[in-house]
């Protein structure tokens, strides 16, 4: 029998019991829908995480100063100076000793209150070098970034992060204006584009540079020295940190290159900071790999859930088809008398099951396309439906139809024609 006719006949007998057919496939519909939705949510989360990591730069390696754990019996209450973290001499050592590096850019962070007239904003004053713009992947919104000359002249100039510029100047152009950061005055030479935008991510991504006031590192050093005053739980303490961050950009984003640079940096830090644990190395590329790995585990988990839900759906279909076979015993007998071989009966019932599950699969795909949208609208979660999800879900549902249709179809075909004809 021709496939088209087979499908048409199957459709006819399913249409005869529309409600029952619909209820039968609900398991498959929801199974497929949830598979697609969960994959879409997982993919969206992964994309967002990867975008955040990518923002750090795939060829970058980031050394950050971290406050070492408090020594036992710390002299609380007493004003003291805690010195830790990256040193200017580390910077020089890295520049001298590490090969395959394009840029090595230091950064020093000092919390400040930035003022323009009566407007005040809590910002971070970041002392850095001109290469920071490129290495951190920042874009200018107006004016220019810091230059070598700014540093050499200890110029009192600054570049504002997008959020700082907005809060201090609203929609006025800040370039050329003066701001006060702490007790010092700087002239604004440029503003940065907001970091959060353009990545499709949620708010807060890359907020660090949005809330920054960039100044030449030598200027910051000259004006504030190395001490930073910190208020911790009511008591005042001082910390001495020369540099908060050193961003090392490898000559390429190739994994072996980044790995070699990472190894060299780790060796250097071990040598120079011994057991102080006051420097942490972050390799975005490694994070990316970890993110992929955890995504893989997540995907396996989802696949299990999907398999279970489709199994349940398949059992539902099989159950109904078995009942259908009993209900249509007479018809089977008549068809056998009219010359249907066993394979014709198998084909007929299999066609109905496959049509059911494929129809349910299609419905599930439709809903599976819709639900992630709803999730994005209502919960603000990023979702991403890849075409292969649809193919996968649809393929599995068709497979379920075949697997769970075979037994009822075989039962139908094995009926004795004489007995079947006598069935009331």
């Amino acid at each position: 029998m021709r496939i088209r006719r087979l499908v048409r006949m199957a459709w006819k007998s399913l249409w005869l019991h529309r409600l029952r057919s619909l209820l039968t496939v609900l398991g498959i519909v929801f199974g497929v829908m949830s598979v697609i939705s969960m994959l879409a949510i997982g993919e969206g989360v992964k994309e967002e995480a990867q975008a955040q990591i990518r923002q750090l730069g795939a060829s970058n390696l980031i050394l950050a100063s971290v406050k070492p754990p408090e020594p036992e019996g710390g002299n609380e209450g007493n004003a003291r100076v805690l010195a830790y973290g990256l040193l200017r001499r580390d910077l020089e050592a890295i520049r001298l000793a590490i090969p395959e590096v394009r840029h090595v850019v230091p950064r020093r962070d000092v919390p400040v209150e930035a003022w323009v007239g009566h407007r005040k904003v809590q910002a971070t004053c970041m002392g850095t070098e001109p290469e920071y713009l490129a290495v951190a992947g920042l874009r200018l919104a107006g004016g220019r970034f810091l230059t070598r000359t700014d540093g050499a002249e200890r110029a009192a100039v600054c570049v504002l992060g997008a959020e700082v510029a907005r809060r201090l100047f609203d929609h006025r152009d800040p370039v050329g204006e003066l701001i006060k950061a702490g007790t010092h005055t700087y002239r604004v030479v440029g503003t940065l584009a907001a970091r959060g935008e353009g990545t499709g991510g949620t708010a807060g991504v890359g907020g660090e540079s949005d809330m920054a006031v960039f100044v030449p590192l030598p200027t910051l050093q000259e004006r504030t020295g190395d001490l930073v005053r910190v208020v911790t739980s009511g008591s005042m303490s001082s910390e001495s940190v020369e540099l908060h961050r050193i961003t090392v950009q490898a000559v390429s984003a190739d994994e072996p290159v980044v790995q070699r640079v990472a190894q060299a940096l780790r060796a250097l830090i071990r040598l120079r900071h011994d057991r102080k644990e006051d420097v942490r190395l972050t390799v975005p590329q490694e994070l990316l790999r970890q993110a992929r790995e955890s995504k893989r585990i997540f995907t396996i988990l989802l696949a299990c859930i999907a398999a279970i839900s489709l199994l349940v759906g398949g059992i539902g279909i099989m159950n109904i088809m078995l009942a259908t076979v009993v209900e249509r015993t007479r018809e089977i007998g008549v068809r056998r008398a009219l010359g249907a071989a066993r394979r014709h009966i198998v084909a007929q019932f299999l066609a109905e099951t496959v049509l059911l599950s494929v129809g349910g699969g299609a419905l599930g795909v439709g809903l599976g396309l819709l639900l992630p949208q709803v999730v994005t609208w209502t919960l603000g979660m990023p979702t991403l439906v890849l075409p292969e999800f649809l193919v996968l879900a649809f393929g599995i549902s068709a497979l379920v139809g075949v697997v769970f249709g075979l037994y009822p179809a075989a039962r139908a075909a094995d009926l004795d024609p004489v007995e079947a004809l006598r069935h009331e």
Binding site: R330, A337, G339, A340, R342, R343, P417, V418, L421
Partner: protein
């Protein structure tokens, strides 16, 4: 005349628990081409078993069956299905039309299994529906037809693959006498056109139209009458 149907010592045993029931007990039967044969007898006499054997729905436990010259007594299920499809036509007491198919689609079921192309099948089913006097009702479903009309559809369906034998099981059993006569007229017409008919019936009116009537009793042919 050649025998279209030839049974030789056909026996059919059924196991019922510890007992063995001899539903058919060494039946010899020859039906020549074009003959109209009526099979009568009380219930349990083996009529239905005989019909099932002749209709290739069942196989004799012992003995042999030639259908149109071919020994079909030991064929497998697929081959028997093919015999039913190509060389036999069935008419049942309760019509046994498929309720969700239209008149034409019902007639096309055997054509489908024979692998006839849809367009050819449609031409043939339309022709058969017209011949059975159903011309206007080809798109109706069985539920929308009277009993007589349904039986006409069933006869059309039985003729779809131009069978060598038409087997009917109480074809008038569910019909009022007037309609029953109409159906018998249709069968007469087929007989006149040279079709071999075997009709199982309780109805003596059928027997009056047949060329030959056999009476079954206890799984054997008890006696036989021929119409002059």
């Amino acid at each position: 005349m050649t025998a279209i149907v030839r049974l030789e010592g056909a026996t059919r045993l059924y196991r019922m628990g510890e007992h063995t029931v001899r539903a058919l007990d060494g039946v010899d039967l020859e039906v020549p081409e074009g003959q109209y044969l009526a099979v009568m007898g009380p219930s349990g006499s083996g009529k239905s078993t005989l019909l099932n054997l002749l209709g290739c729905l069942d196989r004799p436990t012992t003995g042999r069956y030639w259908l149109a010259g071919r020994d079909v007594s030991r064929l497998d299920d697929a081959a028997l299905s093919r015999e039913r499809n190509r060389r036999l036509g069935f008419v049942f007491q309760s019509y046994n039309l498929i309720p969700h198919l239209t008149v034409l689609e019902n007639i096309e079921v055997p054509l489908d299994y024979a692998g006839v192309a849809p367009r050819t099948a449609r031409e043939r089913s339309t022709g058969l529906a017209r011949r059975m006097g159903l011309g206007e009702r080809t798109d109706h479903r069985p539920g929308q037809l009277s009993g007589g009309q349904q039986q006409r559809v069933a006869i059309g369906r039985a003729l779809a693959n131009d069978p060598v034998v038409l087997l009917a099981d109480e074809p008038t059993g569910n019909l009022d006498s007037a309609t029953g006569l109409e159906i018998l007229d249709v069968l007469d017409g087929l007989c006149a056109a040279g079709r071999t008919l075997i009709v199982v019936t309780h109805d003596p009116k059928v027997a009056t139209r047949a060329h030959r009537t056999i009476h079954m009793l206890d799984g054997r042919i008890d006696r036989e009458e021929r119409r002059a």
